[in-house]
């Protein structure tokens, strides 16, 4: 078992910063630093070499999307550096930007999800391990759009459920648990989905997630 996962927390609201610090440290994470601006975040990453950063989108001084820019910059400096973005709302546009470098270790969740402690902690750990955690709302936004691809319409309702869970970043075991089916059934669904969408089959969970997200996110 590796050492404790260290986290840099970037959140400007004291109430939420303290709450997240408490939540993560009681669940076995080590808080390397808790800061409130983009530049301080980049400094903390250089100083502490954390395993993952949890970043609020909106930060001072502009209170726009500074957190997102800082996260992209951090990943530019340290390719693949795991970042979990938290926001009061999710925007497909931002998800696309986060995913554009094609590397794993990306999360984008609504702040509401913090309420489900177990799932949230799992998501932080998954991102720290190089996996993906996309908010179900991002996925449902993408799937709700009348698709430019007829292939999506060929999926059965069950296959669509599985596709949404893959896109969120769940493992086969987690998908099986969530849908109350066997992992073998999950594998079969996934094989069908990849076949219908014309995606190359892959056993690497993370590569699979990125392929699905890239597929869903593309416009053409």
């Amino acid at each position: 078992m590796a050492s404790v996962t260290s986290v840099v927390l970037v959140e400007d609201l004291v109430l939420l910063r303290d709450g997240l610090t408490r939540l993560l440290s009681t669940n076995g994470f080590e808080i390397a630093a808790a800061v409130d601006t983009g530049p301080a975040f980049l400094e903390a990453v250089d100083a502490h070499h954390p395993d993952v950063a949890v970043v609020d989108v909106r930060l001072p001084p502009t209170f726009t999307d500074e957190g997102l820019h800082a996260a992209i910059q951090a990943r530019h400096r340290h390719p693949g550096f795991p970042v979990l973005i938290l926001s009061q709302y999710v925007e497909q546009l931002y998800a696309r930007e986060l995913l554009s470098d094609g590397e794993g270790g990306v999360g984008y969740l609504l702040k509401d999800r913090v309420g489900d402690v177990r799932q949230f902690v799992e998501a932080v750990q998954r991102v720290a391990d190089g996996g993906t955690a996309m908010d179900p709302e991002v996925i449902s936004q993408i799937l709700a759009r009348r698709s430019r691809r007829p292939q999506l319409a060929e999926l059965t309702p069950r296959e669509r459920e599985v596709l949404a869970l893959i896109a969120e970043g769940r493992t086969n075991a987690a998908i099986a648990r969530s849908l109350v089916i066997t992992t073998k059934a999950v594998s079969k669904h996934i094989a069908h989905i990849f076949d219908k969408l014309g995606l190359p089959p892959s056993d690497d969970n993370n590569r699979r997630v990125l392929a699905v997200l890239a597929y869903l996110n593309s416009n053409t």
């Binding site: 209170f63 999307d65 925007e91 696309r96 509401d112 489900d116 759009r145 430019r148 416009n219």
Partner: protein
Amino acid sequence: MSIVPTHPLSKRRPASGGRRVAGRRTWAAVRCAGGLLAGGFIALAAIPLLVLGLGTLVISPLGDLGAPFLAVTTWLVRPLARAERLRVRVITGVPVAEAYRPLRGSLAARVRTLLSDIGTWRDLGWLLVQVVAGGVGLAFLAAAVVGPLFMAAVPAQFLRGAGDGKVLELLPLGAFFAAVGWSGCSPVAKALAALSGQMLEPDETARLRAQMEHLAETRDETVDARAAELRRIERDLHDGAQARLVSLTMSLGMAEEEFDRDPGAARQLVVEARASARAALSELRHLVRGIHPPVLTERGLGGAVEALALASAVPVEVDVALDERLPAPLESALYFVIAEAMANIARHSEAGWAFVRLWPEPGKLRLIVHDDGHGGADPARGSGLRGIGSRLAAFDGKFTLSSPVGGPTELFAELPWPQ
């Protein structure tokens, strides 16, 4: 040789160009002749009104009969003046503003407004000018038409032996009329139109007054819309997030009581509390999007419209050609106009494709929202289109909707943008 294919083309060009110039000249002649003719008709219609107006001016001191009579006369002048404004605009290309004071209230009040409006008296002055100018125009036109007829008729008469040598002397006269008539037609038509345009153009006070009335009207609309918006937000908060938070507090309070007695029940209450909190957050998120979408704050109009397009059920191409952020109120108004247009496309058009284009031009911003749906959208129906109108009106902007049955539908908006 390589130049061979281009040779015929280069030869053909001047010929077709020449034809085009000739075509343009003919068209210009027809247009100015039509303009003079129309001006003459308007002058003919102006004569009885002028007589009526001057007549009532003479009898008006005699008693109560004068004022209403004069009012009716001047009221009849207005449609004629409107026709003349249109004619002047067609001929000179310069629009002539109309700035009468709005007629409201009782009949007596209307009559009073009508008679105290400086535009009414300018119109009477215009009648006089129009009668003269229209007559001059008709005379000119007559020369232009009669001259050539003369030229054709005289030799014919001469050949038949009906006239003597003297008839031939009239030939240069005909040629002179024809030449003056046709070459002078366009400038004369323009000069006469400009003259009557000047008479009809409202003076500064009238224009300012009309502008003020317009501003007051759009301000009222904006204030009303703002108030309605606040009422909606208040109601949404009251029935939504606030109610959820109350229920959350209740669940937590009951859980506190139950902890010692029945931990299982307490846990259930905490789960319910969390569900309430989650629902409240989701409702607040919805509400915030409706007030001012965060992505608009963060990315400006271009990014926000792109986000809208990504979430749209219909594929939408976005081209927002702005180098800088617009002022926040304008940004927000345009965002909601585009959002409304895109929602209409998704809801009604059955379009397979749409595009949004926003670009600056000197002094204004232009917006087009186009879809390839089945068309037939009626701007008179639907509060959404009314909302678009009032949002734009707050910035002196306006929009038109073109939606023939069978499509495509195109919303075209324009607003002043001093840049």
